[in-house]
């Protein structure tokens, strides 16, 4: 019983991390129709930058996390402005350029932070755990879940309650029509790209105490983001929330029960969704 409880809480925490990763991916994909293959790299870069700020510069953890998110957001903005902007309309070129950048980032991280995994200690104040219902919950994982919920609520408020959010939704639904009514869709692109990259970077440093930061983290996380978005539907916030928790559960329980095939088990919900509902659980149109 207690094993299942711990697995469940770990699954929810991992789902929270996946949400931080995939919400941006889903928004970028939904709005810009760009499958941003640098997204895993953004996650890894966030982990590396954050761990440097936290461990080497001795900044407080939350400040380090915000710093990492801001750095990665700026990096994302630069990529969008300098490269993706020039290639708008050519999907294949965008895919290949983001893939090329992800290789460069991976090699850059290997060069800068070496191949050794960096383990980030759980930030002070969040160590230990809470005993409830006869189970032991790690405080840090609960913190991740809370942070993911807060981010989800903020994103929902941003998208549903503000003028900017209304413009983004209009852009997702029909970019041409949004342009016609005077929305500067290209500026939205930059904002959404920065936001998505920043969230992924934030996820990277939030996940660092659990996952550690290592070369290849990008390649591990990118397919997870893809699977979440295929499951939940592109451009849908609710879709990436539900998809993240679903995949969090499948991944953790798969790893506990079939450790050798955990990566393969991930594929089952994706297969089901692709066969039964190709646009994803909450998507409006097929990718």
């Amino acid at each position: 019983m207690s094993l299942w409880g711990i697995l469940a809480i770990n699954s929810v925490a991992f789902g929270g991390l996946l949400f931080l990763l995939s919400a941006g991916f889903s928004l970028i994909f939904g709005l810009m129709r760009v499958p941003n293959l640098t997204h895993g790299s953004m996650f890894m870069l966030g982990g590396y930058v954050g761990s440097t700020l936290y461990l080497t510069w001795h900044l407080p953890f939350w400040l380090a996390a915000l710093g990492a998110a801001a750095t990665v957001a700026v990096f994302g903005g630069v990529i969008e402005r300098l490269l993706l902007r020039r290639l708008s309309g050519s999907i294949l070129a965008q895919v290949l350029v983001t893939l090329g950048i992800s290789f460069i980032v991976a090699d850059f991280c290997l060069l800068t932070w070496t191949g050794d995994p960096i383990s980030v200690a759980t930030p002070p104040g969040l160590t230990g755990g809470v005993r409830a219902f006869g189970l032991f919950f790690t405080t840090y994982r609960i913190a991740i879940i809370l942070v993911a919920c807060v981010v989800a609520a903020l994103l929902w408020a941003l998208l549903d309650k503000t003028r900017l959010g209304a413009m983004i939704r209009a852009g997702v639904d029909d970019p041409e029509m949004a342009r016609v009514v005077g929305i500067r869709v290209s500026r939205l692109f930059t904002i959404v790209f920065c936001l998505g990259a920043g969230l992924a970077g934030f996820g990277g440093i939030m996940g660092a105490p659990i996952l550690t930061v290592y070369p290849g983290l990008d390649g591990d996380m990118l397919p997870l983001a893809l699977v979440v978005v295929i499951l939940g539907g592109a451009g849908s916030l609710l879709g990436s929330l539900v998809g993240s928790f679903l995949i969090g559960f499948v991944y953790n329980f798969g790893q506990a029960m079939l450790p050798e095939l955990a990566y393969f088990v991930l594929f089952l919900p994706m297969v089901l969704v692709l066969v039964l509902r190709p646009q994803g659980l909450f998507g409006r149109h097929a990718p």
């Binding site: 293959l37 290949l96 090329g100 460069i104 090699d107 060069l111 397919p223 295929i230 990566y263 190709p278």
Partner: protein
Amino acid sequence: MTATRASLLAALAVLVAVPWWVPGDYYISVCSQILIYAVFALGVDVLIGYAGLVSLGHAGLFGLASYAVAIALASGSGQLGAVALALAVALLGTAAFAALSLRATGIGFIMITLALGQILWGLAYRWVSMTDGDNGVGVAARPMPFGFNLEVASHFYYATLVVFLLALLAAWVFVHSPFGASLAGTRDQPRRMNALGYHVWLIRFYACLFSGLLTAVAGILFVYYTKFISPQTLALTASAEGVLMVISGGSGTLLGPIVGAALVVIVKNVASAYIERWNMLLGAIFVAIVVFMPEGLVPGTTRLVRRAFKLRPNAPAPTGEPAPGEPAP
């Protein structure tokens, strides 16, 4: 037409003569490697160039065939049985791969193939009882078809050359057949093809199978070439290299992928002798080609040659060297 035929014969003569004009076994092996990757790139190009579908998971299929050979040999099967098993496994795998990824086209296809390729990589990496994880699986010996010893570099080169020529011929027939024409139709005008009564999905599915077959053949050659297979072969970088070969050489041509494969293999071998950062260079080449020369080397050069002929009909024939940095129109 005779000029084309003459240049084809000349190219064939150069390929057959490789063991004489190439210094040393190492470079002959590099030539074998180029031919293996050329077969792989042809497989990728059938999808990118003729079906308009970009797959970022083909290294998974490549590795599937390689692992099938290595594991079958390790568990005591004969060479012929191992190769037959590998072809069967890879075709079945491709069928499943295609059935899932053809739920979408365009970006969706790219994303699904990427996810599937990563899953195959994850299996190779983590299904330790089957694949021995990161340690990989070794192959004890290359086969001896008709008593021909493939352990010799030049012999292996010739065997690879024969397979490569067969694959090229198969690709040529495939592309120029009525089926190839209907495949190009589904790439350019899927709705009209559908309205004309063609089964667009099935045409794409068969194209995937053919592409998977070429990829599997390359995978089998590869595992005999290196006599070793590890998860690294299935990584996303390997799929991306395949796409890079096709795009850099020029998709939608048969010569393009071959030139691209040669380019990538040579750059990789030369570069890795001097620098450690092959991936960074690969990424940079990727970005540069996409931004500056999106049509690829072969169509770009062809266009330049045609233009030169048209503008100056009496001018001496151009050397056929690609013009570096020539931006696409």
